[in-house]
Amino acid sequence: MKGALEVRVRNSLDELARLAEQVEEFCDAQGIGPGIAYNLNLAFDELITNTISYGYDDQAVHEIIVRLAVANDTVEAEIIDDGRAFDPLSREDPDVDADLDDRQIGGLGIFFVKQFMDEVAYRREGDYNVVALRKGLAARD
């Protein structure tokens, strides 16, 4: 069964809840389990938060486009924004073995994206950043 979703969100952190709800409904309708829906929403939260926090030089409203597509045994997603060129994969992983005193949060968001998605890729297309994600649905949990 094939299915696709496109959600456009404003560059505001309070849009994340609305996006998550639509992603959950889509996953449910496609027979994709809540665990994978969580993984997708986590990836979107982390990537979009970075974009909103660091991606723009102005105070204007910007649109961020999230697309999901299901085919065979995978779900693919793209997040497209018109912020400044930034490759989220260029950040270093955090030290997940650090003890409490040394532990920091920096880099954790992108680390989650890489851990919970099977494939992550970044490209710049003209004035846009495009992050592409892929997750296998082998078990359709």
Binding site: P34, N41, L42, D97, F112
Partner: protein, 111 residues
Amino acid sequence: MEISDTQVNGIHVLDVTGRIDSGTAKSLEDKVVGVLDGGAKALVIDLSKVEFVSSAGLRVFLLAAKRLKAAGGKYGLAGLQPPVREVFEVSGFSKIFSLFTDRAEALDRLG
């Protein structure tokens, strides 16, 4: 996201409902900082009704942990739902926090 605040045997318990994402984490941080600034030395955060946590939420939990450690206080998180637990495991946070099955266990162990 909603937070209710009670005290049980001198332990502050914050009961959170909903999503802790980048949009809501600031309110949680404000609440936690308020409780700690008020002198709380023992804190349990009940996450049994929290269905989503991202790194923004982990940042708040980490902040509380560092402050309570510096103050010689006690701290625990309770009732993590399985996908939230997985986030803690993958990030290594399950090793640096005390995670309890539920509020009752947390209160029993920290009391």
